[in-house]
Symmetry: C2
Subunit: 144 residues, 2 copies
DNA sequence: TAATTTAGATGGTACTACAAACTACCTGCG
DNA sequence: CGCAGGTAGTTTGTAGTACCATCTAAATTA
């Protein structure tokens, strides 16, 4: 600890990035809590969101998630056991398996979406309607 | 479900929240990738950030993280073994243990910070400087 | 001082993710 | 056609993370 004072040196080289990261941690904290209340992992929540309006093969889903195929298999298996997802062999490729959301899964996703909206409302309500629109527009442009 | 058409892809009830969440996932994805490159968990990155300019007891650190004390103990133990953190008995309370960052830990945190800034730059550069400032200001107001 | 509370560590369990090996299937070259 | 090689998904084994319940030592209090 005999180095130069690391404390003041580099805490504000890129404030937007810092704010983005901090906001992300805060948001994920809320999401995590709500997911936990429903015995859902964050990854499984992503799966439900991704499969909301799509039907994907396991590999495509893994690509969306940035996970390994094997992780995805396990995930989908557990979710299928809980009735949130279902698997069906692809009609055109005997190797492939399509994964899609069940009504129960969609309902749970819906429920969590509204819980999240409610949980984040106190934060977003700090802004006027116009500001919210502006924030959303800006944020959308920095989100791929 | 009520008669508000939950079935017709209720993807627009709260667009700002959706965008916040999506942005959070994107940001955390980048963070996760960079952390993985340095064999760091996201939680350990948070620890380094929290202890950047502070020295905390295990319980206080656990509170910051929202984790159980025991999880924190394990985490700190592993990080200490890697030379990123250090423990010292509190001078005033024989039960308590202070945790603080080492120069190596601070250096790694620094490194990751710049990696993250670099990784996010292509996204933030979509905006002009003025827009970046505005985004940051707005985002800060919705982040506790 | 004895009883209670608090700080942290430990042990056991469950979940998540990965990599490597495995099975089934498709594709294309000879 | 028929087999070699690639692709899709699953299985198996391992490591990390987090929780809970329990344990020890130290402080508080009664």
């Amino acid at each position: 600890m005999s180095e130069t004072e690391a404390g003041t040196r580099s805490l504000q080289p890129d404030e937007l990035v810092d704010t983005l990261v901090q906001s992300a941690f805060a948001t994920m904290g809320v999401l995590n809590r709500i997911c936990a209340e429903h015995d859902l992992s964050l990854t499984l929540l992503r799966v439900l969101a991704i499969l909301w309006d799509r039907r994907l093969r396991v590999t495509a889903l893994a690509d969306y998630l940035g996970l390994d195929k094997s992780s995805t298999t396990g995930m989908v298996g557990r979710a299928e056991k809980r009735g949130l997802l279902r698997r069906a062999p692809s009609p055109h490729d005997g190797r492939a398996v399509d994964v899609f959301i069940t009504p129960a899964g969609a309902e749970l996703a819906e429920r969590i979406r509204s819980d999240v909206a409610r949980a984040l409302a106190p934060m977003t309500d700090e802004l006027t309607h116009a500001e919210q629109r502006r924030l959303q527009a800006l944020l959308q442009r920095v989100t791929p």
